[in-house]
Symmetry: C2
DNA sequence: CCTACCGATCGGTAGG
DNA sequence: CCTACCGATCGGTAGG
């Protein structure tokens, strides 16, 4: 991500900002594999070759480090999944585009531990704490977006209007999540292929009659 | 689980055995909610009102505590899901039985943090360590069992023989896992209902022609 | 960004 | 099952 810099740049990014970015990239990598709970300040500092308190100074609390890590991961997700997926024709095109963008994001190993938010989903399932609430809201938002796209596709005659949008959103979401978990666990790309086939099967079943 | 004891029993369970069982029950509860990583010996001891080293003496290492906790959870899963699910007619009956038994196990909150093994799946996705290997073998075993039931149902004419068994196993597994995660995250039983409907939709689609 | 430190907790041990 | 302890690491602070 931008290793090249123009040396004569008049207002180039400060060293502090670069360090901050480097910290968050390492933090996302660790958290996607082992969870936010395994993201300790001492370990992060050692991996980056700086002192613990030097790193701490960037965030002032562990919760803020966790929050900023989630925010950075959200930006990656938007760039790698939502943007390419939504860049298709409104309705069915965007539905297919988002499913494929998600599976591609998993397959390419954008995060080495699989989908960052799928991992967080399991880690923060207990209904306690501000991070749980934030992740739950993200989750609701993504499902809600999918529901809206389904309703648009129904209005456009691309999906059977008798289909219940929330049910279909669930049935599309399910193979995406399972493809992520099984691909990450077994390191076997056939699970991503199973996910593609499942999405195609489900969309074929709800085609207008 | 057996609070009543016959006081005159000649070979009644020793106190040590009872304590051991109590430790594992608390350990399963904590691990299902927060993961095996949050299962510290000190915390477990405090929650049970015994000393840290007294608890430690039961297991001799943290890894053995983790292993025994997983073994205990496996026994619960077999009793609550596999046994009732397999108690149906071989083939399609057992497939439907297992899916319903799993969804019921989630809905009844057998583990307060949702399906124990779904949580472990996300926590030990990194391909390192003996616990990862053990959980991956469990996972393979369950999917393999489902594949065999599908092949049996195909031989019995209950499922279209043109269907690829591994693909169908994936498509049945996916809504079960998602129902578990979303029910646990949002505490909303409609996600379990979405899971039931998804299983029914998928089985209807692969009915013999 | 650093050194130097704090109290708390970690897994584990000695010895009973 | 206990008390008493070990070295390591935790999140965080003081002061620069």
């Amino acid at each position: 991500m931008g290793e090249l810099e123009s040396p004569a740049s008049p207002r180039r990014r400060s060293d502090g900002e670069q360090t901050h970015t480097a910290i968050l990239e390492t933090a996302m990598r660790i958290a996607s594999i082992e969870g936010l709970g395994s993201l300790t300040i001492g370990r992060l500092a050692k991996e980056l070759g700086i002192s613990k308190s030097g790193l701490f100074a960037h965030f002032k609390s562990k919760e803020r480090l966790q929050r900023e890590t989630i925010d950075a991961a959200r930006a990656v997700f938007e760039h790698e999944v939502l943007r390419p997926g939504m860049g298709h024709e409104p309705g069915l095109g965007q539905i297919e585009g988002l499913c494929e963008a998600y599976l591609s994001y998993v397959e390419r190993g954008v995060f080495p531990g699989g989908c960052f938010f799928a991992h967080m989903l399991a880690e923060f399932d207990a209904p306690e704490g501000p991070i749980h609430d934030e992740l739950e809201a993200d989750q609701r938002g993504w499902v809600g977006m999918l529901v809206q796209l389904i309703e648009t596709a129904q209005k456009q005659g691309e999906i059977d209007p008798a289909v219940e949008p929330r049910q279909l959103a669930f049935e599309l979401f399910a193979p995406l999540e399972l493809a992520n978990y099984l691909f990450t666990l077994h390191r076997d790309p056939s699970f991503v292929e199973h996910g593609r086939q499942a999405v195609a099967d489900t969309l074929a079943r709800v085609a207008p009659r």
